[in-house]
Symmetry: D3
Subunit: 160 residues, 6 copies
């Protein structure tokens, strides 16, 4: 049995994230989607809001669990018997950063593997930070996030 974890900030969760969660869930026996809560950046959504949005998005996926986490991801993995860290890659620049991170995690816990899955081409341009910027311009984001995420985002940024 191979368990995997998909860590991220998910602020907000995008269609790209949900696509990766579905594909990851089909590859491993269980998949923990872990929301990092102690990052220094100012979040748009509270951890609890992100947890609820993700739960609503993956309700029907067996083996998928959403959790909050304020530890190093390798520590979370080790404590939960997880062998695989799953990461999506959109392009070469993403990869450079992720490759280095994977080497650091390997150095911290050599038994845990990082596995990269290429992003679906429909979602190449999706990053949560772009969505936040688009929101500030009241741009259309329905192609980028599921309807229930869009609804919460609009209610939090002035209901335009």
């Amino acid at each position: 049995m191979v368990k995997a974890v998909f860590p991220g900030t998910f602020d907000p969760p995008t269609k790209g994230h949900i696509n990766l969660i579905k594909r990851g869930a089909a590859l491993f026996d269980t998949l923990d989607v872990v929301i990092a809560v102690n990052t220094s950046k100012r979040p748009l959504l509270t951890p609890q809001e992100r947890l609820e949005l993700l739960n609503e998005s993956v309700r029907d996926l067996p083996g998928v669990k959403i959790t909050l986490c304020n530890k190093l991801i390798v520590d979370y993995a080790e404590e939960n018997g997880i062998k695989v860290i799953l990461r999506g890659i959109r392009n070469v620049a993403d990869f450079g950063y992720e490759f280095e991170l994977s080497m650091m995690n390997k150095q911290l816990k050599s038994s845990i593997e990082t596995v990269f899955l290429p992003t679906d081409p429909r979602y190449f341009v999706l990053r949560s930070s772009s969505i936040k910027e688009l929101l500030s311009f009241h741009a259309e984001i329905s192609e980028m996030v599921p309807p229930h995420v869009e609804k919460l985002l609009k209610s939090k940024t002035g209901g335009y």
Copy 2:
């Protein structure tokens, strides 16, 4: 049950290949190591030699099978109920090429995923073509290939 395939030329098989096969075998239920036989480049080893060298290298790994193949890898995967193509990535340049290949394979068969595993840092510099070049200079290659591979290579290139 998730089955994977690890395709390559393996001319010759390196310690980097064998490291990836071991790690891949721990992640998926079965792993077919597939030797591409119809490439246009002039091989150093015959397909049969490569098959035997790999078989000797992975003898004790449950779920691993070595085969020869002269088809598109996505066709091999589909015919064998395989969901995952496993690829090792040594660096950013590797990734650019592999990313594009993965998109082409996704376009050919959308149900098959390419999964990337970062190469172990000990094997970053190992590529089969470098080993062939080093052999032509009679350089030391025992760090790069297992002993039984080194023995065959030396016997074929003049027994230096």
Copy 3:
């Protein structure tokens, strides 16, 4: 009046090429599509075949002309009063190569500009050399080339 040239090997012309020609024709007053005929690689199609396939593909585009050329592209541009070399870019690796080529062309003729247009995401994976390889495996290529190009390619590679 700004005239542009879109040079390439077009062996074979792909849907990606035709998409770029259409978009380029909308940006400049005239667009010469120039088929390089003296490259050293062994072509699949004769220059004349490529000329006819492209002519059939762009028949309805005003301002577009297909020609054969055995000169440096900057010389062709200068002789024809062309100010812009148009190039499509699919990814970062493409760009590195094209950027260097554009600097060399600028050094040869400083008055001629190279202008880069990003490839439509639907065609990221299309390169003529991949199509040739897929043909050798009798893979499906109808997503990648127009029907009249596919027909000629199949007739030349055994009519599978």
Copy 4:
């Protein structure tokens, strides 16, 4: 008639910017140079100062207009009948970022093209943020900005 827009922060305008504006003005019928005013970063120069510096720099260029803008650039383009967003590219790292931005803009308004022009090699090292850092060390910047820009920058940073 093809209209283009060249967006940027221009804090401060550099010789590299002015070189691109001249070259862009020669390729398209009109070129709007658009100063983004609502970025979050702390500017060195006020939007009005940047507008005046650019106006002084391009006074003699027919078809070039400098404006302030607090919208998404694709919205500005659509409202003004502009078909082309012009961007300069200095190197591969620039390109990775710009390529992704161009895909996002294409997704927001598919009718608008992003066109990339390679930076003149004399200006490869010029970015506005470097100039700000050099100013803080009282380094020589006359190679990097036009005289009237240098004069204002020096008067604002202590008249060294």
Copy 5:
């Protein structure tokens, strides 16, 4: 006689830094290790602490001197008769940034060369900012910094 300078923030000094200092000291007649003190980022260690940690690390290396500096590195080099700026490169992303910096420095003082040395593979994953992040998670860092650096870091971050 060729003198070199190795500039950095060294917040904290890592085993990677010390490896580069040793290798650089073997290549040039003297090597000044220069701690940049006026960077805007909030440092973890005071300049004086970094100076002492580095002094303790390189005590036995002839020709190596540690100094604090609040000038442009090319000005420091010129004033001290130094011809070479030494920089370590861990990967392609590092290089893109360093290459551009080297061109800017060449433009400021054309007589001073930047020389790049590849990082030892054991230290590919080491960057000071990662160590700071790991410290905030109380992760193990003894592989990454010398014992006396680890000791000070732990005393400053709560003595865990």
Copy 6:
């Protein structure tokens, strides 16, 4: 005393090569310029011709010696008491390749360092293979190679 080697094919030697040789000679006590003679590619110039062209180019540089070599460069270095392999880097793509090569050489002989020097911006577009292609189009190459190299190249390719 630090001795360095600058290996290459030099087919033909370019102004970029000569610029690097001059800069390298100023950094190290001696610099051996080593012409690799056993590469598989079809050369334009004989090794002897390249030796003579380089000798004429560096006649006045103390400490510089031109030699032919058919060994691994690390073996040449070790036999001649050389500690440094000098390589020029024109751009990020160059670097990816050179970085990997440097790791392989480090693995073969850990005592020998590879040192990278950025190419002078005037010579970014110069690679010997481009010059060969330009020659086949009878293009102007006097910006790219010294006069005595140009003279020999023209005499060998038809005296155009």
